[in-house]
């Protein structure tokens, strides 16, 4: 038996690069390779898609050492995805050192200390870097974070502190920290050489995926594959239930994966079908990136309690606000959990050294929490509900496009209506969903949309760590253990082509959208775009408009649609730079080219143009400059 060429790593590592928390899980696969068992053998022995046939190596959760307080490094289950960029007056550089850095002072810190200290230095704190990665309204490769950071006196002098980084750089720093802690624990098996499965929101488009890969490469992760988070959560369910999932799901079932994290909501639909006697899984739809999550709930409660305190004549000092949010989170978890008490006490110790004297106390009833959180975030709505869009003012502060409607059920209704599939089961994910009251409410509402027929709840996953766990399991699936969810690209992609029309003064030539990659294009596949040749301007960078649609599932490559269709979303433009040097005769002219697209094994989308005369082939690059706009 020969060893498989592609699998020289000894670990398969799942990384959940979360909006608010990142986690790591790993499987030691050294044992099975030492025994000369190749993935192919596992497939043939286990009948191709069975996960229970062999004893799989266990998936282990990896705790992450990080700076938790000045000069103090401790292990935590997750790495809070926060980056603090303080000046030396705000946090002394030696307080942020890591024991393995050999005395180097990076001048920034990620993780728990960044989150805690950052709450006191909001202008220096980078948070939700991941959401910025998918936000086309800004230049995502430019140093724009912290977004609201105070303008430092001298922007060019990085040493004066108050530095800024790009969303890509911030993500790279979280990943680099994970890599450093891993390498520290596994000096013989550095993470750069291991097979890494990195999760991204299902809603990430081709550009955001490309940027995630850039960040990972910057952090030194070489053997990389992307995986959608709701799929990872589903893989975790498969791993935890073993073969029993075959009894829980039947052909025809559609599972709605509802992933509500600290700051984002992500939906996917996974359909179960039967193929040649075996169950098959396919991810059939993904939702949009919705910036709404558990943190909104904690703030809602904190706001309500602040008002109560004010009514009682008690006053909170600003230094106590953070304690209040923590206390509200605890109250939320108690009152939304199983067997909740009638009420929970909210205590915030005094901010100064006199803690008993300064203690502020309030109480919140179960009914209040149900009204505020369950009715507020999971309102009972009809199947045709749509999220409310509030645009009260003509001017709006530029920043992340936070959801204006907190009703998760309304977003869900719109998602299901758009895709026209009826879910028969729900898999919840994300820490917020620990509240059984919330889970039940959402299930009831969904069931009411389909004549009250019961919607099953799939249980058994760890809501906080399932994504990293499932990602590591997917690594095993790729090695031939267990069933794979088919899916491919979650969108169809289009390129904007200028029509050849006689010029009309005052009007830009009309643009049509040419489908270059269909919905559901599988990893490792390539399509040529048939149809007429296109003229590509040589000798200077040319910009194409770039569109995507998660609804148009039947468009084939070469199909032309109207870009003004509501179903088409404009992404960052695509750049082509065809050097004129090779063809001096053509400078300033249009060269005939054909287009092709390629979904890489990593999970990114590449666009290529080839000269029709066979003289060259060029990759089109995503431009990260501000998106084309309306």
């Amino acid at each position: 038996m020969s060893k498989s060429k592609s699998t020289t790593s000894t670990f398969v590592v799942g990384i959940d690069l979360g909006t608010t928390n990142s986690a790591l899980a790993s499987v030691d696969v050294a044992g099975e390779e030492a025994h000369g068992v190749t993935p192919r053998d596992l497939v043939s022995r286990s009948g191709g898609d069975r996960s229970g046939g062999e004893k799989a190596p266990p998936i282990e959760h990896v705790p992450i050492p990080q700076v938790v307080a000045p000069g103090e490094v401790d292990r935590r289950p997750t790495l809070p995805s926060f980056l603090l960029l303080p000046t030396a007056l705000e946090v002394p550089p030696e307080a942020m050192m890591l024991p393995w850095s050999g005395g180097a002072q990076p001048g920034y810190v990620v993780g728990e200390m960044a989150r805690e200290r950052g709450s006191e230095l909001p202008d220096r704190l980078v948070s939700s870097a991941k959401s910025w990665l998918s936000f086309g309204g800004v230049d995502r490769a430019a140093a724009i974070l912290p977004w609201r950071g105070a303008e430092s006196e001298d922007e060019t002098d990085e040493d004066s502190g108050g530095a800024r980084v790009s969303p890509v750089e911030a993500s790279a720093r979280y990943l680099a920290h994970l890599r450093a802690t891993w390498d520290q624990a596994h000096p013989d098996a550095p993470l750069g050489e291991q097979e890494v499965l990195l999760t991204v929101p299902a809603s990430f488009d081709a550009v955001a995926r490309e940027l995630t890969v850039t960040a990972a490469r910057q952090a030194g992760l070489e053997k990389l594959t992307l995986l959608e988070e709701p799929q990872a959560a589903f893989y975790s369910f498969l791993a935890r239930t073993g073969d029993a999932w075959r009894k829980q799901l039947r052909p025809g079932d559609v599972v709605a994966v509802i992933d509500v994290g600290g700051g984002t909501c992500d939906f996917s639909l996974i359909a179960v079908s039967e193929q040649e006697g075996n169950l098959a899984l396919e991810r059939v739809a993904v939702g949009d990136h919705i910036l709404l999550g558990g943190d909104n709930m904690d703030l809602t409660l904190a706001h309500a309690v602040t008002q109560k305190l004010a009514a009682d004549g008690q006053k909170l000092k600003s230094s106590q606000y953070r304690g209040l949010v923590h206390a509200c989170r605890r109250a939320k978890e108690t009152l939304l959990g199983d067997k909740p008490p009638r009420s929970a006490t909210i205590t915030v110790l005094g901010g100064g050294s006199k803690i008993i004297g300064g203690t502020v106390k309030s109480k919140i009833d179960r009914e209040e929490v149900e009204k505020l959180l369950v009715d507020g975030f999971a309102p009972v709505v009809a199947a045709d509900a749509v999220p409310r869009v509030q645009r009260a003012l003509g001017l709006r502060e530029l920043g992340l496009p936070y959801a204006t409607d907190p009703g998760v059920t309304r977003h869900l209704a719109a998602f299901l209506a758009r895709h026209g599939r009826r879910p028969t089961a729900i898999l919840f994910n994300g820490g917020v969903m620990k509240g059984s009251l919330l889970r039940r409410r959402i299930a009831e509402v969904v069931s009411s949309w389909y004549g009250g027929e019961e919607v099953r709840l799939l249980e058994g996953t760890d809501l906080d760590l399932a994504v990293a766990h499932g990602a590591a399991y997917y690594g095993m699936v790729r090695r031939g253990r267990g069933i794979r969810i088919r899916g491919g690209t979650a969108r169809a992609y289009y390129i904007g082509v200028e029509s050849a029309k006689p010029a009309i003064p005052g009007f830009a030539p009309p643009v049509k959208a040419l489908c270059v990659a269909p919905f559901g294009m599988e990893e490792g596949t390539r399509v040529e775009v048939p149809g007429q040749e296109l003229g590509l301007l040589v000798g200077e960078p040319t910009e194409f408009r770039f569109f995507a649609s998660s609804n148009r599932k039947t468009d084939r490559p070469g199909q032309v649609v109207d870009p003004d269709e509501e179903e088409l979303q404009e992404l960052a433009p695509v750049l082509a730079d065809l050097p004129a040097g090779d063809r001096p005769e053509a400078a300033g002219q249009l060269v005939p080219v054909t287009l092709a697209s390629h979904v890489t094994e990593i999970g990114t989308l590449e666009l290529w143009s080839s000269a029709s005369d066979g003289r060259g082939r060029w990759k089109l690059e995503y431009s990260l400059r501000e998106g084309g706009g309306e």
Binding site: P65, V68, A69, P70, G71, E72, V73, D74, R75, P92, E94, A95, M97, L98, P99, G103, S318, S319, T345, T347, L349, G351, S353, K354, I355, I356, G357, T359, K361
Partner: protein, 203 residues
């Protein structure tokens, strides 16, 4: 290493290599942290290291007193300070113990104590694994076997004869089976358990 030997090493190492031994670093004046950890001998060794190159005679005058080196003592001290800082940060323990309870009603104290208890408990649970030395219901009869460790089981009352003994378990004892303390990096003054907080009003 005793300071006596260290002083000798300082002399010869400086003479022949032009450098002080690493262990002498703890006694150098710039290292104020370590110096303060050893209130009694702090002046002497610091001076010693400085003057080691000056006079051979002085080295001979050092009294041979054996003490932990500055490194070890500072290490112990920093460990204790870090634990105290943890209890303060998570459970506000120092604030609580330093506050006078005289002017507060028991109910007010109770409200605060629940929070302090939760925070300190978290520190203990996250950093120490505890178990009972003698598992079993307290105030029930237990047997103390022959060959027991008197450091683990404290016998109370009138004891005669040889073990095994039978008696009543008064306290099951506590034993730490695992310590998971954070790693402390260099260069941070651990004596600051909690920094002063000053809020700068935005203009």
């Amino acid at each position: 290493m005793s300071r006596f030997i260290l002083a000798f090493r300082c002399f010869f190492k400086l003479l022949f290599t032009g450098r002080l031994p690493v262990a002498a670093g703890a006694y150098l004046p710039g290292k104020k942290d370590e110096a303060k950890a050893l209130p009694e001998p702090k002046k002497e060794p610091a001076d010693k290291a400085e003057k080691a190159d000056k006079a051979e005679k002085k080295v001979a005058e050092v009294k041979p007193v054996i003490r932990p080196t500055g490194d070890l003592a500072a290490h112990h001290r920093d460990g204790a300070l870090a634990l105290l800082a943890l209890l303060q940060r998570e459970g506000r323990l120092v604030d609580f113990l330093r506050e006078s309870l005289d002017s507060y009603e028991d109910a007010d104290i109770g409200v605060a104590v629940r929070d302090i208890h939760r925070g300190c408990k978290k520190v203990i649970e996250e950093h120490f694994v505890l178990e009972a030395v003698m598992p079993g219901e307290e105030d029930t009869r237990v047997k103390v076997p022959a060959g027991f460790d008197p450091g683990e089981v404290r016998l109370i009352g009138k004891i005669s004869g040889e073990p095994p003994f039978t008696g009543t378990l008064r306290h099951h004892g506590w034993r730490v089976t695992e310590v998971k303390l954070p790693t402390l990096t260099e260069g941070v003054d651990r004596r600051v358990l909690a920094p002063a907080e000053v809020e700068i009003a935005s203009a």
